[in-house]
């Protein structure tokens, strides 16, 4: 009896092994299909116009043309697009990151009336489509005469980010309240308790959220395209979209692809560096 069981499991694990090999091959094929457009994108950026307009399946550039990237960078709008994007990123992440973290601490560790209601109100905003508030916001920013600057993208975001507050609050529930009581007994003020006791413990989670937020701002297109009325304030995504409109008439796809590749590099690098925590943070959102 025992022997048969043993033999059985042997067969089973052998069968299992074959299944795993087949599964691996399928997964790998799928993965290559997923990534292939990116590969083709990079390759196109190095091709001559003759090659990519030849309608032949030749993926490797022949000859290699290196000049498109420097050409992209020399187009006036491109560098200013990067600078404008960074001019949004820095104040938003510093100020908005601070207000969000402080609010998360308050929601998780302090007692005050109306806490639940305020929190639910903020959470409900996730459901509100941006399409609904973009017209009123546009009217508001026009009347404030902000639409010739980056302020429409900076000011509202400085008030905080709901999903960051939500995640940090969740994260804080795993940090014991004893620290709070101890700090109270020592006569430590709330702000100092936050800054010196809790913030160091939240650093990792804050870092992840800031990284995700950085990527979201970097990739944002709809808000910038509505609110930024003068070309000199365009952020990078608006610039590459205008490149696409302008240079596809001339069939200069190498240039368009080079511009898009550069626009994607920062988020891809960030993702590779912080992959583990980013994926964890995404996964948690589904389970919680």
């Amino acid at each position: 009896m025992k022997d048969r069981d043993y033999a059985n499991s042997g067969i089973k694990s052998k069968k299992e092994k074959y299944i795993n090999i087949i599964v691996f091959i399928l997964l790998a094929l799928g993965a290559v299909t997923m990534v292939f457009p990116f590969f083709y994108m990079v390759m196109t950026s190095f091709m001559t116009k003759n090659q990519y307009l030849s309608a032949e399946l030749k993926v490797i550039p022949d000859p290699w043309v290196w000049g498109k990237y420097s050409e992209v960078l020399s187009k006036g709008n491109f560098i200013s697009g990067i600078i404008n994007t960074l001019c949004v990123e820095v104040p938003v992440l510093v100020i908005g990151g601070f207000t969000s973290t402080l609010a998360a601490f308050s929601f998780a560790k302090l007692k005050f009336r109306g806490k639940g209601a305020i929190f639910m109100g903020l959470l409900a905003t996730i459901m509100i489509p941006f399409a609904v508030i973009m017209i009123p916001q546009y009217v508001m920013f026009t009347q404030l005469k902000w639409t010739d600057s980056l302020l429409p993208l900076i000011i509202p975001a400085c008030f905080g980010n709901v999903s960051m507050i939500f995640f940090l609050r969740q994260n804080l529930t795993s940090i014991p309240n004893d620290l709070m009581d101890a700090a109270k007994l020592d006569g430590c003020g709330y702000f100092r308790t936050f800054l010196q006791i809790y913030f160091p413990l939240m650093k990792g989670a804050v870092g992840t959220q800031i990284t995700l937020w950085f990527m979201a701002i970097w990739n944002d297109y709809l808000a910038p395209t509505i609110f930024l009325r003068s070309e000199s304030t365009w952020t990078l995504q608006v610039v590459i979209r205008s490149f696409n409109t302008y240079y596809s008439i001339q069939s200069d796809y190498a240039l368009i692809m080079a511009a898009s590749v550069i626009a994607m590099i920062p988020t891809i690098i960030l993702f590779f560096c912080f992959q583990k925590v980013i994926i964890e943070s995404v996964a948690i959102s589904g389970i919680k």
């Binding site: 083709y40 709330y190 995504q237």
Partner: protein, 311 residues
């Protein structure tokens, strides 16, 4: 006695301080919510009752009051219905992405090498700029020189179809693109969900002689239902707001031949920021918000029927 009273008084003073501080610390997001969310929502509803084109400020708007006229007009607006239908057709990508994501996640949940690299490869489109990958896919779908038609020509010798120049195919092309873009998220969510299922559930089922399908049907699917629910809710909310893909991928950003690729948000955008019919556009926005609200509500009411939790 008096001592106790004193302590109580002292406590309440501390509690008061905590209350004030607590409110102060959440003041920024709360004010932000009032200024940039709540007020705009009220304003959108007000605007939707006018024929305002943005001129002469708030008073200019109120002087253009027209009641429910915009909503009545919407009912017989062919373009509105067309974009609403197109938006709904795009939602087909949601179940496709969920099924593919679940299958792939189940594959990755086995003992196979390189799962981390595979996962990263599938996730790459998610973190990439939507504008950049829309540009990329417009190039892939290019009629004469795009990767897809070049492959089709190499394999079959025939010229591939005009993906972005055909009223039906452009929708297929959009759905394929959207599935590709979002697949990584459902894989990661499902994979986390699968790893969350206790091993002994499957062991118990084995003892009972359950086969693979039965295990999948009776353990995996029900225990993944919270993840499925989460994906469903978030992708439906997102699915009604498709815009960038349409603007970037259709030639000249015109919404495609016969407006065939245009979504409801795309239509709203054009009404608001190209023809400055702010009142009419706001009415579309209000309808959109109501649709999203109702669908989310249905989801939450319906969840008792099929969403299980692990005890």
């Amino acid at each position: 006695m008096s001592g106790q009273k004193k302590v109580k008084h002292h406590m309440s003073a501390m509690a008061k301080r905590e209350e004030r501080t607590g409110l102060l610390f959440v003041a920024a997001p709360a004010i932000g919510f009032l200024l940039f969310m709540l007020w705009p929502i009220i304003f959108a509803v007000l605007t939707s009752l006018t024929n305002w084109n943005g001129a002469k400020g708030f008073q200019g708007m109120m002087s253009k009051f027209c009641g429910l006229n915009n909503y009545v007009k919407l009912f017989s607006d062919r373009k509105f219905w067309q974009t609403l239908v197109t938006t709904t057709i795009y939602l087909i990508g949601i179940p496709i992405g969920m099924i593919l994501g679940l299958l792939l996640a189940m594959g990755m949940n086995r003992k196979i090498p390189g799962v981390r690299i595979l996962r990263t490869m599938y996730y790459l489109p998610v973190i990439s700029s939507l504008v950049a990958v829309s540009i990329l896919w417009a190039w892939v779908y290019n009629y004469d020189y795009g990767l897809l038609n070049v492959i089709i020509k190499t394999l079959t010798g025939m010229h591939g179809p005009n993906w972005l120049g055909d009223e039906v195919l452009i929708k297929v092309a959009m759905i394929i693109f959207m599935v590709w873009k979002g697949l990584g998220t459902s894989i990661i969510l499902y994979l986390a969900g699968l790893q969350n299922i206790p091993r002994n559930y499957y062991e118990a089922a084995m003892v009972d002689g359950a086969n693979g399908w039965q295990k999948f049907r009776n353990i995996t699917l029900p225990l993944l239902s919270p993840v499925t629910f989460y994906i469903l809710v978030t992708t439906l909310i997102g699915g009604f707001q498709v815009f960038v893909e349409v603007q970037v991928m259709t030639p000249n950003g015109n919404g495609g031949i016969g407006y065939s690729a245009a979504t409801i948000v795309f239509y709203l955008y054009q009404k608001a920021f190209e023809s400055y019919q702010l009142g009419y556009a706001s009415a579309i926005a209000v309808i959109l918000a109501i649709i999203i609200f109702i669908i989310t509500l249905i989801n939450f009411i319906g969840q008792d029927k099929w969403v299980k939790t692990i005890e």
